[in-house]
Amino acid sequence: MQKFLLSLLLFIIWLAFLPIVEATVGVGIKWKTESEIVKEGSRVCITYGLYNPFDEDVMGFLKATRDLENISEAEEPKLIPAGTDSEHAIPTQICFTIPKVYKEDCLLFGYFCERKCEEEQVVFEGEVVAAYQLKGMEGTGSVTGSSFAVPLRLLVECEPMKRNLTPLYFLIALVVLLILSIILRKRIK
């Protein structure tokens, strides 16, 4: 009995001296660009690396903020295993659909257009945020989560365009020829 009590006491002392296990939860991001020159009407994808040097697996994802939010399309949350260091960061893409932003001066219903690129350069500015899915909790208080935001500027290139009137000239020539042929046929008759 005494031996049992002594063993129990030693076990309790051993437990008391065990280091408190700390399990940090979070996500990391690796990036190589903070600005890109893009073409209007194009789809641009940028790859970031998600990593997790902490102690618990997380479902990591990217999202865009501010000007970039409405033109972005990110991958679904994916597993970023605990202990994934930055060298083994998991490639994760976020894509942006760049709308047409520069004015075109058209002669006829969207045809025979020209663009002078005299406006200021359009820039979509915001952040790409690496975050992870949060867990719920009970009682009075706050659920918590962490993220890291990387700035991103998409500078939209304006390509000047000269009005191409060649198809119009062909059309006029065709109409003239048609009128001439009608007149000639009438005279022959």
Partner: protein
């Protein structure tokens, strides 16, 4: 005789050409982009949420449950910057909405929910800053890899507050030192 002179002149010319070409400097562009990487995480107690337990209406500066439960009364709420990072970090904080009663619409205003941050685990102290639904930069700035930003939280319960569990979500966002939140 002429043949010898020609050979001599050719030799001199060849030597001169060799010297000139040896002295010509060749250049090329060398360029490298070093990736940036940073990871931030929450301590165990912060991951579990910021809890205040059961409180009475009309009480002020109620401590969150882990404000002082570390060794020597340190806080065990911290945001960790992984040592596997190569940029310094500023920490920002916000919530999604005021604490709102589960199954109801009553709230505890954000002005009653305060926080403080320090790079020392014993330092965050009252008076705190009221949390907001927009990100606010904390005093924990320029934190390098392997270091932590320590937090404490306090809550005032207005007199006559409707009983129940009140919840919201608090977000901690890292940005590269010097960037805005």
């Amino acid at each position: 005789m002429i043949k010898e002179i020609v050979i001599e002149l050719a030799s001199i010319l060849l030597l001169a050409l060799t010297l000139v070409s040896a002295q010509q400097e060749q250049t090329t562009i060398s360029n490298v982009t070093v990736n940036k990487y940073v990871a931030i995480g929450l301590s165990t107690n912060l991951t579990e949420g910021i809890l205040f337990g059961t409180l009475d209406p009309g009480t002020s500066d109620n401590n969150a449950t882990h404000n002082y439960d570390g060794p020597g009364g340190e806080t065990t709420y911290w945001v960790a910057i992984s040592s596997d990072s190569n940029v310094n970090v500023d920490i920002c904080i916000k919530d999604n909405a005021p604490l709102t009663r589960s199954g109801g619409s009553e709230t505890i205003p954000n002005s009653n929910y305060t926080w403080n941050c320090s790079t020392s685990a014993t330092a965050p102290a009252l008076p705190g800053t009221a949390i907001s639904t927009s990100y606010a930069k904390t005093d924990c700035t320029g934190i390098g890899g392997g270091n932590n930003a320590y937090f404490r939280f306090w809550l005032d319960i207005p007199a006559g507050q409707v009983p129940g569990d009140y919840n919201n979500t608090v977000y901690f966002k890292g940005v590269e030192a010097g960037q805005s939140c």
